[in-house]
Symmetry: T
Amino acid sequence: MDDPVYKVVELVGTSEDSISDAIDGAIEKASRSIRHLGWFEVTEIRGAIKNGEVDRYQVTLKAGFTLEGGDAG
Amino acid sequence: MDDPVYKVVELVGTSEDSISDAIDGAIEKASRSIRHLGWFEVTEIRGAIKNGEVDRYQVTLKAGFTLEGGDAG
Amino acid sequence: MDDPVYKVVELVGTSEDSISDAIDGAIEKASRSIRHLGWFEVTEIRGAIKNGEVDRYQVTLKAGFTLEGGDAG
Amino acid sequence: MDDPVYKVVELVGTSEDSISDAIDGAIEKASRSIRHLGWFEVTEIRGAIKNGEVDRYQVTLKAGFTLEGGDAG
Amino acid sequence: MDDPVYKVVELVGTSEDSISDAIDGAIEKASRSIRHLGWFEVTEIRGAIKNGEVDRYQVTLKAGFTLEGGDAG
Amino acid sequence: MDDPVYKVVELVGTSEDSISDAIDGAIEKASRSIRHLGWFEVTEIRGAIKNGEVDRYQVTLKAGFTLEGGDAG
Amino acid sequence: MDDPVYKVVELVGTSEDSISDAIDGAIEKASRSIRHLGWFEVTEIRGAIKNGEVDRYQVTLKAGFTLEGGDAG
Amino acid sequence: MDDPVYKVVELVGTSEDSISDAIDGAIEKASRSIRHLGWFEVTEIRGAIKNGEVDRYQVTLKAGFTLEGGDAG
Amino acid sequence: MDDPVYKVVELVGTSEDSISDAIDGAIEKASRSIRHLGWFEVTEIRGAIKNGEVDRYQVTLKAGFTLEGGDAG
Amino acid sequence: MDDPVYKVVELVGTSEDSISDAIDGAIEKASRSIRHLGWFEVTEIRGAIKNGEVDRYQVTLKAGFTLEGGDAG
Amino acid sequence: MDDPVYKVVELVGTSEDSISDAIDGAIEKASRSIRHLGWFEVTEIRGAIKNGEVDRYQVTLKAGFTLEGGDAG
Amino acid sequence: MDDPVYKVVELVGTSEDSISDAIDGAIEKASRSIRHLGWFEVTEIRGAIKNGEVDRYQVTLKAGFTLEGGDAG
């Protein structure tokens, strides 16, 4: 049996409400097409400002999943 | 017409309550004297500990704004 | 009198609920055996994913405390 | 409505002529199959040398685009 | 004729035996669906420990390949 | 006589045409209010994409100048 | 029940024979006094040279383990 | 009452004599126009060489101060 | 005979007088409880400012020592 | 037959005109005494400013070449 | 007597067989013209891929040696 | 006339007395064989410890000089 191999994709989740919501949104949307997402790592926390307030959080994360029969490219 | 130029300043927001409040506080205070703040990026999340609990979050961020006629220095 | 010297330890707090809870948990547990914890710095925010949702946040932090008579090793 | 989520891909554009051409080529080629490319960031500028002259620029960049119904993997 | 453009993917190979086997496994599995893999770069060497011994090496690497007519996303 | 002290500011120049124009624009605009700009260092090269083409280069740079009698803040 | 908290220690394993042996040696020796070592990450690969040959590999790694009732300091 | 917010500025102190003098000079000069400077961090130690000797140390540092009513820009 | 294994601890020395004194103080204090300290590496030079002058240097360093029969945790 | 070994040297090219010219100049000059230069990587883009304009680009690059019979030192 | 001064050179060793062989090859070749090589540090592990397999490991390392009467340039 | 091109070499100066002496020693020794050394940058401050005291400072620095007719390799 093969040793497991994982692929890592980079995503940016966004939310008007919180850093957590931005992370959750990215993972939820990615999991619609990726099975077996296993872990994530936050690599950047940014945001847009409007009228002197945070308008939208933008959280960049890397997410890893088991590479099965599908396309690694 | 000139191409837009932005200036980036580094701020540290603090809050006894949460990372988000520390970010919000820094942006709110900066926007009192800076017009047209457009974006921010978190570069460091630290905090003070007292009696075995987080006493105060200290979040360093860079914030960018449109450089108009004012002083770039 | 000696100048103060601090020691820095690296911890990973975890929580199913939030980044803040993961930080709080690590500091609370460390403070059971370390007196005089003074500050922390977040160095990594990761997490486990299960069924397309964040299962557990894992926050790595460095925490500093005053080195007194105890073992520096 | 969902908050927007973006995916980031890493590309290396090449050109015998200039750094800009290498960037343009990577974006042009990626946009044939990716709709809604929104931004890029240069992460590395390298090149091959032949006979004591730059033979080909190789510019690595990350490019972000809106993740819609497609495959996030 | 177009200048060549490459895409870079991030993979994690694993092996109970060695760092090399983890690299080989990731490249072998990726090459089943990616033609023209040309180079790799190791970005992280980690591992799991069980009973005081290395249980499994986990080697993160970036691998580049020629982007042809396929999907860049 | 005092030893010279310099202040460093962070700017983002933009241009639809080239990386060089983005650098030039930032320096030219900053020099309207800062005397004695002496050097710069590029820290980031990004850009916006529209319709599969580079729409605008965004080049972040740090620029240093002699701190004289003025406000260091 | 508490959420698990981990402590991370930094070790340097050495071996005259191979990088793997240096890693194994560090983990084996640490596990004599640390229960529940769970993972490691290599942060540096160095070595001493004698007579134009590698005399000894020195591999720095971080190793994490579950923090139980013991001393976190 | 507001939570405190700090601003961080980047300075380069210089001295023909020592690294310490370069740091002291930058802080002394900045404090003429900035009240409430609270901390600094050295980010770079460079220098000019003349006739095979250090001619002048150039120490880059970031210095933080309490942002009060003044201009954050 | 076992190959030597080293442990690395992170310390912050402080001094009102100089960077060197801060380093010396950290090593002197650590050596009271650690035998066989062998090397150190400076990772950060910071300081506190009071009344426009350096009040106290804070130098972070990593120090390595031979791991013998003692507790690696 | 030996496996090829390369040496990497660090150079700073300069030009009043463009980043590319600075790169070209460094490679052209180095190739007068180094045979078999094979690749380069840009590690820093800086410049001098005079009268509010870029006076000279300074581009640091690493360049690799095949190590043959010559002096590796 | 002078305090010892070392010079550090950057090399890339290659091998079709293993990471270790690539390191050994670089050190062996460098030692033909450099006396007193004392230590090395691996800074990059890359490789070429052919037909879905590692074709050649390329390991970049820095190697230090005592600077004696020879040419430091 | 050619635009100036510089070469950068990496050196480690050592001293039993101070960081400055280690820097001075490296520059003094290098200048015996390199003409036109123009600048340096400290990249690492380390040291050896003996009997609980700093035994010798080891300061790594990069030093740049004008590349003239000589050997760039």
